[in-house]
């Protein structure tokens, strides 16, 4: 094993181990956090840190090739859709009336009452 191989092996070992560590941390956080809103934070840890580190470890292993390009494409896509999906879920939960557990105690202010959900915009255009 030449020096370069050892370096590649060591780097990819490091990246993949830390990536899988973050994946497990995110999953444990999703399980243990008390409230939906704090679980959102835990889930996005696996989406961001876990994915990026694991894909970096794999692309180091794959070197400069088409595989690395594919990995980058998947990474960029997940990088964009991860937060978008989390935002969509958080927005849907907020609109449906889910409030953080300590919302009142934390800010000391009663959260504003929920307005009834508006009609489906697609249907209202048709009328």
């Amino acid at each position: 094993m030449s020096g370069l191989d050892i370096a590649v092996e060591a780097i990819s070992w490091l990246l993949i181990l830390s990536g899988s560590f973050f994946v497990i941390v995110g999953a444990v956080g999703t399980l243990r956090f008390p409230d939906f809103w704090s679980r959102l934070h835990a889930v996005s840890i696996t989406d961001s840190a876990g994915v990026i580190l694991l894909f970096a470890g794999m692309s180091v292993q794959a070197g400069f090739s088409l595989i690395t390009v594919k990995l980058i494409i998947i990474g960029v896509f997940l990088f964009i859709t991860g937060p978008t999906a989390t935002h969509a879920i958080a927005n849907a939960a907020l609109v449906s009336g889910l409030r953080p557990k300590e919302a009142k105690g934390f800010t000391g202010v009663e959260p504003e009452p929920l307005t009834p959900p508006t009609a489906d915009p697609a249907s209202s255009e048709q009328q």
């Binding site: 181990l17 994946v23 794999m58 896509f77 978008t84």
Partner: protein
């Protein structure tokens, strides 16, 4: 070998997320669990592709990432408006 370690880690994370999926009190806990499970599947497909020296798996992983995102948004839209289909004249008869 390291990919085997990572695959075991992703499996453990999947089991934990499934426990959250089962136990999640609200619907939206379950939606983030499903979304996270999909991301774990993407990672798993990529890792297995590398473990078995078959890089074509990454295309499947990319496809799965696309569909996972669309699925999450479809679930949210359904529970938000009680209907997914748009009110186009084509599916006028379909139950919304």
């Amino acid at each position: 070998m390291m990919f085997a370690v990572a695959i075991i880690a992703v499996f453990i994370a999947m089991v934990l997320v499934l426990v959250r999926l089962y136990g999640g009190p609200t619907l939206y806990d379950r939606v983030i669990a499903v979304n996270s499970f999909g991301t774990h599947t993407v990672l798993l497909i990529g890792l297995i592709g590398f473990l078995t020296e078959r890089p074509e798996f990454l295309d499947i992983a990319l496809l799965y990432a696309l569909i996972n995102f669309v699925g999450t948004i479809a679930i949210l839209k359904f529970f938000r408006y009680r209907a997914i289909g748009d009110k186009s004249p084509l599916n006028e008869g379909a139950k919304q």
